[in-house]
């Protein structure tokens, strides 16, 4: 798979799910449209960067409104990561709450070399790992989506032979049964749309390690769903 941001990532950066102006312009075949879309994209990125810098500065000043802004931007990916890892909504909320406190207290240590999203997700992932270390996760014991705090949004233009809800439920059980490190890799990459480099930064691991984890996780998922999606 290509290492480009897909739907969910675009949602967190550009604010529109799955929208890539450069690709859309390229599809139209008009070189002028491509140039214009690139300049628009650069401008949007510059604005986003300066916006993020301001947000980080406000966080360092212990501005509670800035913390609210962080939650508005990254609350969903934080909760999705925690719920996917812990499979328990209450615990996931507790982790997000603790993560917000750490963000508030530790903002002065954030140097801004990595993106804010990567830093926020790293804190959340670390807290999830701490929780998982403290309790023995029993795969399959809590695989109910609502109990895990997750919800399935039907995929548009589904062309699979099998009902996607049934397949999604089987997939979720397979994800829950993965070892924690592989589950983390799958969620960060495919659920939150992080690139390999961002995943490596979030997990504090070399990119090669991240890729091999992801590859093992995908192989395990394919094996689990063998025969279901034909």
């Amino acid at each position: 798979m290509a290492d480009a941001p897909r739907g969910p990532k675009a949602r967190f950066t550009a604010g529109r799910p799955g929208h890539d102006p450069r690709r859309a312009a390229a599809r139209s075949g008009n070189p002028g449209a491509v140039r214009s879309s690139i300049s628009l994209e650069r401008r949007a990125r510059t604005l986003a960067d300066s916006d993020e810098s301001q947000l980080i500065a406000r966080l360092r000043a212990h501005d509670l409104e800035a913390l609210g802004e962080v939650f508005r931007r990254y609350g969903e990916p934080m909760t999705t990561l925690a719920a996917s890892m812990l499979r328990n909504r209450t615990e996931a909320d507790d982790v997000v709450e603790d993560a917000l406190l750490r963000i508030h207290r530790g903002a002065h240590t954030f140097r801004g070399e990595r993106g804010l999203r990567t830093w926020v997700l790293r804190i959340t992932a670390n807290l999830c790992r701490d929780r998982l270390r403290r309790r023995k996760f029993v795969a399959g014991s809590v695989d109910d989506l609502p109990q895990a705090g997750l919800s399935f949004n039907p995929v548009a233009d589904w062309d699979g032979a099998m009902d996607q809800r049934v397949l999604a439920a089987a997939l979720e059980r397979a994800i829950a049964a993965l070892p924690a490190d592989q589950r983390e890799a799958i969620v960060l990459r495919h659920r939150l749309g992080l690139s390999h480099a961002e995943m490596a930064e979030t997990l504090g691991l070399p990119e090669g390690t991240v890729k091999s984890r992801l590859s093992r996780a995908l192989a395990a998922l394919r094996e689990s769903l063998e025969g279901l999606d034909r």
Partner: protein
């Protein structure tokens, strides 16, 4: 697109389709905890640090031990002395002290020697 690639693509779309909504109450709780922490005065917060608490505990134990050592120059306390005298010495019980050594056979009367007299 090969069937394998198609399956892979479908798998990725399905994984991405499951998400969790953020709970606004979480932010409210976090803010309340931050506010609660900020209302604690600086000195109280410093005193509440684990290192300071542990140090205070060690000092307390040392003080208590020191008090015992300083309070017993001869190795016994006033309480222990009175206990010993209560157990060993009979003066405190108000009993007469037999200085002639009769006390050694105090439990045996002269007529109770066991001899049979006609």
């Amino acid at each position: 697109m090969t069937p394998d690639e198609l399956r892979e693509e479908r798998l990725a779309r399905l994984i991405a389709a499951t998400r969790a909504e953020a709970n606004p109450a979480v932010l409210a709780r976090a803010r309340a905890r931050i506010a609660a922490n900020e209302t604690v005065p600086g000195v109280a917060a410093w005193l509440g640090r684990p290192a300071v608490l542990a140090g205070a505990g060690v000092l307390f134990v040392l003080c208590v031990a020191g008090t015992f050592v300083v309070g017993q120059p001869d190795g016994t306390t006033a309480g222990e002395t009175s206990l010993l005298s209560t157990i060993v010495g009979e003066e405190d019980l108000g009993l007469p002290i037999d200085t002639n050594g009769a006390g050694a056979s105090s439990g045996a009367a002269a007529g109770d020697s066991g001899e049979v007299t006609p």
